[in-house]
């Protein structure tokens, strides 16, 4: 019987082992989730880590040369396609830097900054070149990943009332001067 009991666990033991098994299963599940999260974060971290400013990149170009950098800013001007790639100029508020990106990725850019529009704000991750051998020595970034952070928009323009009033006042003065010019001074005898 003893051996049986040793060999065959009783129902309580079976229940305990089941709960133990489910506990271990739960714990493994948590570990797996944590592991997956770590893997996701681990891989994504280098791509979209803290963005480096254009001033920092330009001022310390030598130390960033050939390294993977993250740069964020507003797309300005034209997106200029060149074969399978395109040039996108991105301004972070201090300077604009040219980013060499695949043409397919560049198609996701909808708004570019101008007087009429606020351009899409994008974050790029890529190799920084202090003097790019592929592009005649330009300082640029060859993007590997481009992510749109915020979408741009068309800027509406409201008439500035103060300016309008000033135009009218000056126009009045101008008209008075033009009228006064018609009166010729009396010639001296």
């Amino acid at each position: 019987m003893k051996s049986q009991t040793q060999i065959l666990p009783n129902s309580k033991q079976i229940q305990n082992s089941k709960s133990q098994f489910s506990f271990w299963g739960f714990e493994i599940g948590i570990y797996l989730v944590v592991l997956i999260l770590l893997v996701i974060l681990g891989f994504s971290a280098p791509c979209f880590a803290q963005a480096i400013s254009s001033t920092e990149l330009i001022n310390n170009a030598k130390s960033y040369d050939g390294k993977m950098v993250v740069y964020k800013g507003e797309v300005i001007g034209d997106v200029m396609p060149r074969g399978k790639h395109a040039w996108v100029n991105i301004n972070d508020g201090n300077n604009a830097i040219g980013v060499w990106v695949s043409r397919a990725v560049a198609k996701s850019i909808f708004y570019t900054g101008s007087y009429r529009a606020k351009g899409d704000v994008v974050e790029v991750s890529g190799i920084f070149h202090r003097s790019c051998p592929e592009h005649g020595g330009d300082l640029d970034i060859h993007a590997q990943v481009l992510r749109k952070v915020t979408s741009g928009r068309v800027l509406s323009e409201r008439i500035n009332i103060d300016k309008k009033n000033l135009v009218l006042i000056l126009l009045g003065i101008l008209c008075i001067i033009l009228i006064l010019r018609q009166f010729k001074p009396k010639s001296k005898k």
């Binding site: 170009a61 034209d78 101008s114 003097s131 005649g136 330009d138 500035n160 300016k163 000033l166 000056l170």
Partner: protein, 500 residues
């Protein structure tokens, strides 16, 4: 005894100044039309205000100072120097109203930089500037390069000796045609012809570059105006780096060189005298100067080790050098890179190029090739006098359109202007050093301002001291007018205070 200026002097000056200001007001109509056609309402209002202010000022002056008298030499010079100051102040009004300039002084700085074809800029958030304001920045350079007075001469002033005095006062040493009005019109003919060709070349390249057609041609016309008039403003904050295109850079190099050539030489080439290019002292001088400064810059860049390939070194070095030599100021590197990436030898090469400039009667600033050539010829003549026997007759001649025997008067004039430029470069450098900038940095920026170049090593910024901004404004003004008009104005002020 110094004579105090009388009412007739003031009336003569005021009347012609008023006419030139009215001419300036009319030129502001172009950006107004662009603003309206692009649906830019507030920028259009900015230009309406600018036009009205200039018209009020100009009409009042012509009414109050009405005269039939012709200008004297001194009056003509004073009109010119005051016209440039008035243009900078009145031209700055639309800039300031746009909100892209932090203060009115910054707007005046950019307006003076534009009219004097310098290219140093304090504009903020340029990439969001309206088409109208952007066009005005470039048009100001085109007008300034041609000469503000040339614009007015072509429009208003009928053929008179006063016109010639103002023409000379605006640093145009040479009359291309017997009549000064015809000379002005020829300068316009050359400029407009190249404007059409250059805009087409840049516009088509821009489209092939991937730019939208409208934008490509807008950039084309703007870049042409500032390249031909050796100004250096660009529609985007990255200057030439925006385009990422070697062909675009090459076209601008050709336009910059065309702008740096004497209009008189243009005339002779147009008339079929192409051999003049190879014989002229200015073109040969320019070739030698570019070669020497390029060698200095290239050795410097090679030692700095920033560009590992020869082609990269040439493309970057040559572009900044030609931009500096012609007084344009386009950049294919960031300003800070001059100081952080280039070494002092390369910077000295660029400073030398900037300080020498292009041809006289062109749109470039600085000492200029004719003066440099004459100075060197005079030096050679003196050396010959020492070496050769006392009885030997020593003459020195040079070729500039025709063969000219060098006279002491020419050598003296060339040396005086050269000396003035050197003093002006040094003065700006001293002021820069007073505010704590290192010598080479201060000399670079000062030379760029005084020689009306526009290359910047980063000193010109929103945060630079107001006194330094004023110094650069003065340097741009005095450098563009080549001193004489400025000296005459100073003399006029002294006479008004101390005269009897």
């Amino acid at each position: 005894m110094i004579l105090r200026p009388n009412l007739i002097d003031l009336k003569n000056i005021g009347y012609y100044l008023g006419k030139i200001i009215i001419g300036l007001a009319l030129t502001m109509c172009l950006p107004l039309v662009i603003g309206l056609s692009c649906g830019e309402i507030n920028p259009a209002l900015d230009f309406l205000i600018g036009i009205e202010a200039a018209l009020i000022f100009g009409l009042l002056l012509t009414k109050l100072c009405y005269t039939d008298n012709d200008l004297s030499w001194a009056q003509g010079m004073i009109v010119v120097s005051l016209s440039w100051l008035a243009a900078a102040v009145l031209g700055a009004i639309p800039f300031y109203l746009s909100g892209h300039w932090a203060s009115f002084m910054d707007a005046v700085f950019d307006a003076m930089s534009g009219f004097a074809t310098t290219g140093l800029a304090l504009v903020q958030d340029l990439d969001h500037l309206s088409y109208a304001h952007n066009f005005w920045r470039h048009l100001a350079m085109f007008i300034g390069g041609q000469g503000i007075v040339i614009v007015a001469l072509s429009l208003f002033v009928k053929g008179s000796s006063g016109a010639f005095k103002m023409y000379i006062g605006e640093a145009r040493d040479e009359r291309i045609m017997p009549n000064i009005i015809d000379t002005s019109r020829f300068i316009w003919l050359v400029s407009i012809t190249f404007l059409v060709l250059g805009t087409l070349a840049l516009g088509i390249t821009g489209i092939l570059n991937g730019m939208r057609p409208g934008n490509a041609f807008f950039h084309g016309v703007c870049i042409f105006m500032t390249a031909f008039d050796t100004g250096g403003f660009a529609p985007q904050s990255q200057s030439m780096l925006y385009y990422h295109n070697g062909i675009y850079e090459l076209i601008t190099v050709v336009i910059m060189i065309l702008g740096a050539i004497n209009f008189k030489l243009h005339y002779h080439i147009w008339m079929g005298n192409r051999r003049e290019i190879w014989k002229n002292i200015e073109t040969t001088g320019l070739f030698i100067a570019v070669t020497v400064t390029l060698i200095i810059t290239a050795i410097g860049l090679d030692r700095a080790g920033i560009y590992p390939k020869a082609m990269m070194l040439f493309r970057k070095g040559f572009y900044q050098l030609i931009s500096g030599q012609t007084g344009t100021g386009f950049q294919t590197i960031y300003s800070v890179q001059f100081l952080r990436e280039w070494n002092h030898l390369a910077l000295i090469g660029i400073i030398c190029a900037m300080s020498l400039g292009g041809a006289v009667c062109s749109t470039t600033g600085a000492i200029k090739m004719l003066r440099l050539g004459i100075t060197l010829k005079a030096l050679m003549e003196d050396i010959k006098r020492i070496i050769l026997p006392g009885k030997a007759i020593v003459t020195q001649k040079f070729h500039h359109i025709k063969t000219i025997f060098l006279e002491d008067k020419q050598a003296r004039s060339a040396l005086l202007i050269t000396l003035c430029y050197l003093v002006l470069y040094g003065f700006g450098a001293l002021v820069g050093m007073f505010f704590g900038y290192p010598f080479v940095d201060a000399l670079f920026e000062s030379t760029s301002a005084a020689a009306n170049v526009g290359l910047s090593c980063g000193i010109t910024s929103l945060t630079m001291p107001a006194a330094l901004k004023l110094t650069y404004i003065f340097q741009m003004w005095a450098g563009r007018l080549e001193f004489m008009s400025v000296f005459v104005l100073a003399g006029f002020v002294v006479a008004a205070i101390k005269g009897k």
